[in-house]
Structure formats: C-alpha cells, structure tokens
C-alpha cells in the first residue's frame, strides 16, 4: 500500500499525517481524526451526506482523495459549533423542525453554509439548487428550505 505525507487543516487545526494514497477525505476525517459527524451513505457522490467545505467550496468528501486535499482548509460539521454555541444554521434547523433521523443533516448544514457564505440572502430557487445534491428521505425538504431561509435572516440580523 503506497503511502504519502500530507499536511491538512481541519476545523482550524493543522495535521501532519501519513496516509494511504487511496484514502478518501471522508475516511480520513472519520477514521483517522475521529470526526464522525460527516456521514458515509453512498460513497459515490450521489447523496451529499459527506459534504464538507474544502477551501470555501462544498464538496462530496467521498470523491476527494485526502492526498488531493494536501495543503487545504477543511471545515466539517464539528467545526461549525464554536465556543459561543451553535451556529445560527444549526439553531435554525432545530427551530424549523428540519431534523428527523439526522443522517442527512450534517451534509445539508454544510451545503447550506457554503451557500450562505456566497449568497447571504438567497432566493428559494437558489436554496433548492444549492441543496439539490443533498438527499433527504425523511423530511420531504420543506422544513429544510425554511430552515435555510430562517438562518439567512438570522445571519443578516447578526451582521447589522
């Protein structure tokens, strides 16, 4: 098994690790760093449950080799909860009733964060497009979209 040395920053912590070249970013986060919030569901980039933010972009971590992320910044769901408490997106998901079984939730929240970082006041259409890569089997999506709209409002209020 070929191994390679990488440096990667995850949730603002720098890691120097030796990894198998075939290891995905998803498995690195879960198995090597113990950050199990990011979920493995389909392992083929179809469901978005493994969504993390890589250098500011929402990506399916199951499709990224961790070696490709050498020198990169990664934000996972665990990195969203700061010292001040839950991020407004997390709070909005709770308040809007957008969480049922919870398995799509970390991916949904990360995809939502990536959207709101780029478009702080998205239209419903933009929200749907941004989340179209995240499958949910429980909620029917309605309350998830409402949660993102609510989070956008909360974040806009926070800024002003």
């Amino acid at each position: 098994m070929c191994k390679i040395n990488i440096t990667i920053t995850v949730n603002n912590v720098v890691y120097h690790e030796q990894v198998p070249v075939t290891m995905t970013l998803l498995d690195f986060l879960r198995e090597r760093l113990g950050l199990t919030g990011t979920k493995a569901v389909c392992r083929e980039g179809e469901c978005g449950a493994c969504t993390v933010i890589l250098n500011g972009q929402a990506v399916n971590s199951c499709l990224i080799l961790v070696a490709q992320a050498h020198g990169s910044q990664v934000l996972t769901i665990e990195g969203l909860t700061g010292t001040r408490g839950d991020h407004p997106i997390q709070q909005a998901f709770i308040d809007a009733g957008a969480v049922q079984c919870g398995y799509c939730t970390p991916g949904m929240i990360m995809a939502s964060k990536a959207l709101l970082d780029q478009y702080p006041q998205p239209t419903e259409e933009q929200i749907r497009q941004a989340l179209s890569g995240n499958i949910c089997r429980c909620t029917g999506y309605t309350k998830i979209i409402a949660a993102v709209e609510q989070a956008a409002k909360m974040l806009t209020e926070e800024r002003s």
Binding site: E44, A49, Q90, F93, I94, G97, G102, G140
Partner: protein, 769 residues
C-alpha cells in the same frame, strides 16, 4: 387516558425535537460511529446469481488469508438455520440453494475492511444455476420449479374477503369498469445504511447494538440461531438514520450474522455492508398486480367491488402475511360497498424478499382503488370528488370487513378540508387539454388506516414502559419502541411530561434496550405513540398516585385535591411544593418512585372470510395532488400536494407536519421515478446513481391540515400517522397525471418514458391517414 378539556402543558405544542441538537452538531453517535477494542469487520458473501443449487463452498483460501479471524457457512450455525417473523422459511446462511441475487452464503470476520473484502473474493462457490422465476405469473405455472419444497405452486399464502352477494351487486350496477394496475418494487433508501456491532458480553451472553426497528425480533432471532436463552441476549437500538420498514424484518438476519461471527471469534464484530450490498440483500415493497372491477348505480352509489391481487413475495415470506392481511382488509378503501370480493395471493419469486415498507400493502391498493374510482367517475360523467363524497363512510357505516365506524366523521372532513383548501371545485377539469406542451392535472386519494397490528398481529400488540422519578425530580423513561427519525422520543417525552405536569426538559427517554422492558412488539404499524405512550401513562399513573399521597400529607390536603402542574404540586389553600422537592421528600421516606407500565391493544377479529373489525382504531387521510406534465419530455412536475389527516389529537404539530411532508415525497418517488430495474433478477438500480430518489428540486409545495377527533384509545386521543402520511400520495399523483394527459396510467413507476410512450401511442391512434 383521555384528558379532554384541560389546557395542556406540552401536548399539542411544537416542542423542538429532543434529539435534534446532537444531530445538527454531529455529536450523535450512530452504530457505524462506534468502535470497540479488538473489533473485527464482518462482511457477507452474496450469491451473485438469481437461482442456483449450491454444489460446494470452498473457504480454505479465505480462511488462510492473513488477518481473517473466521469464515462461516451454514454448517457452522449452532442453533436452527431458519428465520422468519411468521413463516420460518429463510435460512440465515444459504445451505442447499440460493434464491435471490442478494442471498447470503458465507460470512467473514477480518481485521480490516480491505482484508474482509479480499477474503470474500477468495471464497469459491460452485453453483448449478437453475431457471429463475421472475414474476408471480411464472411462479404459478404448472411447470414452474418450486422455490420452497413445502409450498406447492410457489404460493406463499392466500387470503380472501367475502361480503354480501357479488353477483347480485353487479346486477344492481348501471355502470361497471375494470382496470388492472401493476406496482413496482420499492427500495427504502434509508440514508443510514444497515449498521451494527455484535459482541460477547460477560460470560455466555451476547449483545447486539444496531440500527434497527425491532429489538425484540432481533433478540428472538439471535436466541434461535445461536441457541441461547432470551435472558442471555441483549439488543440495543442505536440512533437510527431512517427505517421506513426496511429495518423491521431484515435486521434479524443482518445483525444475527454478526452475532455468529462474534461468537466464533470471541470479539466484537462490526458490520461492513456497502450501499450496493444493502440494496441487493435487504427486503423491498411487494410488487402487486391488482385487477379491480367496480359497479355503481347511475347516481354513483357503489354496489359491488371485486379485487384480485397477486403479490410478489420475493424469495422468502418475511413479513408477507401481515402485509397481505392489511392489503386485503383495506382493498376497497373507506367506502360504503355492500358486496365485496377480494382474493389475495402471495407468490414466491427469485427476487429479494418483499417485506415491510411504510404503508404495508396499502399504497398499492390505493393506487388501484383510487384509480378505478376515477375511471368510474369518468364513465358516470361525475366529478371524482362527488363520487367519493357519495360513497365515503360516515358514522355508523361499516368497512368491507364489517368494522362499524361509530366515530368516523373526521374521515369525510378530511375530504372536505383538502378539497376546499386545494380549490378542487375551481381548478379540476376533466376536459382533455389539446395542443399544449404543458398539461395540468389534479388527482385525489382518500384512505383509511387500521392502527397498529390488527387482528392478525394481536399476539404481538402490547408494550411496556419503565418510568423512574429520581431523587432530584428528573424522570427517566424506558420503552420498547424506537425513534428512527419519526420523532417518537419527542412525542413520548411530551406524553411523560404531561402526565407528571412537568417541563419536557425534566424527562429523558433512555436508549431502547431489551433488558429494560418486556417484549413491546415491533416499531411498525405507526403504533409507537399509542402503545408506548399508553404504557408510559400507565406507569406514570402509579407513581403519581404514590407522590400524591406524600404531597397530601406534606400539604395537609385531601389526596383527591392534589394537582401536578407546571413543575409544581399544588394543594389546598394555596399550599404547594415543587415537583423536585416532593421527589426528594419521598426518597427520604424510602418511598419507591419507579413503576412498570403495560398496555395491551384491544382485541380485534378477522375471520376466514375477512370479516371482523380487523383493527381497533382507524386514521383517515385525503391527499390532492396538482401536477404539470411536459408532453415533449414526459417529465412530471408535482406542483402541490394538499393533505388533510385525521389523527385523533396532534401531540406535536411540527413533527406531525414533517411526517406528512416526508411521506408525500417518498410516495412521489415511488409513483414517478424509483425503479430498481430488476426484470432479470439482477438489480440494475443498485445505487443512488441508478435508483432515482426525489431531491429538493422535485419537492412540491405541501400544505398540511389536521382534523382533530380524539380517539378513546390513544394517549390524549392520538391515532396513527407515520404510514397514512405516505399511503394516499402515490395514488393522488398518478390520478393527477392521468387527468393531465387524459389517459389512465396503470403501471408504476409512471416514468417519463412511460408517459411519452402513452402519449405517442395515443397520438398515433388518433391520426388517420
């Protein structure tokens, strides 16, 4: 159990889900997030062929691979090699035959996932392939091979319903229609794949932690297969990322295989099962072919219904008997029909077993009955809404099983509320739209839903609760039914909090562990709110009675005047004590503040002619779908679904609304895009890339209404919701599509291709050169 007329503290309020915070931070540990020292990975060798005799299995190379701790076949099973919740026809490891492409022939326990998969490759199985039975019709042929030696004609089971005089019924009809509908094999696609760990516990005992719906089913299967008494098997349900019935029957095979490996190696074994393997090996929704004939007078009064159902049970029976019971009992919907014949036949085929799936036979029957009603409405030149209003059951009427519904005014109300809200009278058109690219249509479906397990499942229909008030006034609640995302823990928290008059933050629902309460049956049939809820109320009542006596003395108040409200315990003349202090006081007096609760479902009947009340309570629902069909591509966009649900009393309105929204979108996928493409027995739709699930782009606008009419059975008057949330949706969507294109669609999924073919054929038929 009814507390009518009171202002509730938490019942009826949209309490935020008690488990939401852990899920939004990623802290919640699901089964696959768990790790134990010395843990091995357990993987399954799938058959890979559709129907074959096993001539030999050679595991020597696999066993010799470095890092492999065990390789097991059927020969290594210590107890019986048979599972099956009702009919024990399924070997946990195939011994002489494999009957579907996902059948399991061997197990491997290895130190890493890579080694486990390598070992699977090294297991050599010598098959003699046999001709497969791919449809029930093939299975019923005289020359068909037998999938199970003791099941002639490959018939898994037969059921019938006879009411009135069917010949006379059709004689009285002025109009008659007949349609045949075929429905497809749907996959659950719970986001969290099957996951679990089995490990030896203590000396001679075993534990299984898993993502599952029925801890007591798994406990029983482990006991049978490992030859251990029940008191040596502990099953714990881990937070579960979706079930929908897919984690009802299958865990008894999947996690017990891990238990075999744990027993063989003496170490914890964690499941290694890819999404593709999950789709190949786990149970599916029963495909059905439903022939339905309806007769009615010119005024639209139904006089007769004759239904013949042939269901594809797949390779093993699993949960087919209660599925086909429910399908038969609900075959002709919530309508007044004096003469009804239903014949239901379940047939074995070489496909994955057909088992439990949200709706449990009812979505299929609704597609047929509601589609047939629309056809009949067309023939009678009646609005489909009026046809339903004319025939819907009203208080005092009985269903096709003879169940008298004394209190069913909420059924008709769901039709009226949905129709008014959707603007049916203003928007519904039955005149074909011509020469347009986008055709709009509207369709409806009305259903009744027998709560919990019904007559055929009564022997399982009880539940327990263990409630303890601690010395600091906090309350622990243990139940036997699980939360798989439907919100059970939240609703049960509200029920417990309401019972004691305390804030919901005082209540903690413990993880479900088979050692805490006696067998509480499966978490299925939308029964948890009622069964576990009532068990909690039973336990709470006992503890409250004890606490009231302590309070009566402390507050110098007659015990009947003691009240529990808003974390306080109130007595006469304005005297009070906090709930927390009262608990502490009781502990200081060595008073026992714990109790077991138990609730048994009322008995119901269903004789050999399908007559009896069948279920002790019924929920009702109406869905109205509005769609737009693009005639160029065949693609259907569901614009809006209006849903009205009668669930007795709504305990948590946001959670209930979320259930309906999710059920509708899951139903929409079943109706339009989900297709396993399993015609050859090999499943082409074995990944999320090829099995198309609705994304948020497909999610329609959904409007949900609840009609309240408290039940005498459920806690605070509640009735079932989980499955009714899905059942009417596919039928409503298909009726809307049929209305849009002015052709009745008869086969699921109603894909873009099928619509195109229908429209092109229709166009050819109308062009004469």
């Amino acid at each position: 159990m009814d507390m009518e007329g009171q202002n509730y503290i938490t019942v009826g309020l949209p309490l935020a889900r008690v488990d939401a915070r852990g899920k939004v931070t990623g802290e919640t540990r699901f089964a696959t997030d768990l790790s134990m020292p010395g843990m091995l990975w357990g993987a399954f060798k799938l058959a890979g062929v559709v129907h074959a005799r096993i001539k030999a299995i050679d595991t020597t190379k696999a066993k010799a691979l470095k890092g492999v701790q065990a390789v097991l076949t059927a020969a290594d099973i210590p107890g019986v090699n048979q599972v099956g919740p009702i009919i024990k026809d399924q070997p946990i490891l195939a011994s002489d035959k494999v009957r579907h492409v996902g059948d399991v022939v061997a197990l491997v326990a290895a130190q890493t996932p890579d080694i486990a998969y390598q070992a699977l490759e090294l297991i050599q199985v010598d098959y003699e392939e046999l001709p497969p039975i791919l449809t029930p019709q093939d299975g019923l042929l005289e020359e068909a091979p037998l999938l199970h030696a003791d099941k002639p004609g490959n018939i898994c089971l037969r059921m019938k319903l006879r009411r009135g005089d069917i010949v006379e019924g059709f004689r009285q009809a002025d109009q008659e229609i007949e349609d045949t509908f075929t429905t497809s094999r749907q996959e659950h696609c719970y986001l969290e794949p099957m996951a679990g760990i089995a490990f030896p516990e203590g000396v001679g005992s075993l534990a299984i932690y898993g993502s599952l719906q029925c801890p007591f089913y798994v406990q029983k299967a482990a006991s049978d297969i490992l030859g251990l008494p029940l008191n040596r098997v502990r099953v714990v349900q881990t937070p579960t990322g979706g079930g929908f019935g897919g984690k009802e029957d299958t865990p008894s095979e999947i996690y017990v295989r891990l238990a075999l490996l744990a027993r063989a190696t003496g170490r914890p074994v964690k499941l290694l099962l890819s999404r593709r393997e999950d789709i190949l090996t786990t149970s599916k929704r029963h495909p059905m072919k439903i022939k339905i004939r309806l007769g009615a007078t010119a005024q639209g009064k139904l006089t007769a219904a004759q239904v013949a159902v042939v269901a594809d049970c797949g390779a093993y029976a699993t949960i087919s008997p209660p599925v086909l019971f429910r399908a038969t009992a609900h075959a002709v919907g919530p309508y007044r029909i004096p003469n009804v014949h239903v014949d239901t036949t379940g047939v074995y085929t070489n496909h994955p077993p057909s088992g439990a799936y949200r709706g449990f036979g009812q979505p299929q029957m609704a597609v047929a009955m509601e589609g047939a009603l629309d056809h009949l409405a067309q023939r009678l030149n009646m609005d489909p809404l009026d046809l339903r209003l004319t025939n819907v059951l009203t208080p005092g009427d009985c269903t096709c099983t003879g169940a008298v519904l004394e209190n069913c005014q909420d059924l008709k109300q769901t039709i009226e509320v949905a129709a008014k809200s959707a603007g049916w009278r203003q928007k519904y058109r039955k005149v074909p739209q011509l020469h347009k690219r986008y055709l709009r249509g509207m369709g409806m479906a009305v259903i009744h839903y027998g709560n919990s397990l019904g007559a055929k499942g009564w022997h399982l229909d009880a539940a327990g609760a263990l409630v303890q008030v601690h010395a600091d006034g906090s309350i622990s609640v243990g139940v036997g039914n699980i939360d798989m995302g439907q919100g059970a823990n939240t609703v049960l928290t509200q029920i417990a909090a309401e019972a004691f008059g305390v804030s919901p933050t005082n209540v903690n629902i413990l993880e479900v562990d088979t050692t805490r309460v006696p067998d509480s049956g499966p978490t299925v049939a939308s029964r948890t709110t009622t069964l576990s809820g009532n068990a909690i109320l039973d336990a709470a009542a006992k503890i409250k009675s004890t606490l009231a006596a302590v309070a009566a003395e402390h507050l110098s108040t007659p015990v009947v005047q003691v009240r529990f409200e808003h974390d306080q315990v109130l007595g006469a003349a304005g005297r009070s004590i906090s709930f927390q202090k009262l608990a502490q006081l009781a502990y200081e007096q060595n008073i026992h503040l714990a109790a077991q609760g138990w609730w048994v479902a009322p008995y119901s009947s269903f004789d050999e002619n399908g007559q009896g009340n069948a279920y002790y309570e019924y929920s009702y629902a109406t869905h109205i779908a509005e769609v737009t069909v693009d005639v160029v591509t065949g693609v259907v966009r569901v614009d809006k679904v209006t849903a009205a649900h009668a669930i007795g009393r709504v305990i948590n309105p946001v959670a209930a609304e979320g259930q309906v929204q999710g059920g509708i979108v899951q139903g929409l996928g079943y109706a339009l895009t989900e297709d396993l493409r399993d015609y050859t027995g090999y499943i082409q739709g074995n990944s999320f890339a090829t099995y198309i699930l609705p994304t948020c782009l497909e999610a329609p606008q959904i409007e949900v209404h609840f009609v309240e009419n408290p039940s005498v059975h459920g806690p605070f008057g509640a009735k079932s919701l989980g499955e009714p949330a899905l059942i009417p949706a596919p039928a409503a969507v298909i009726n809307a599509v049929s209305n849009a294109i002015s052709w009745r669609m008869h086969a699921l999924p109603v894909s873009a291709e099928s619509i195109k073919l229908t429209l092109d054929a229709a166009a050819r038929d109308t062009v004469r050169l």
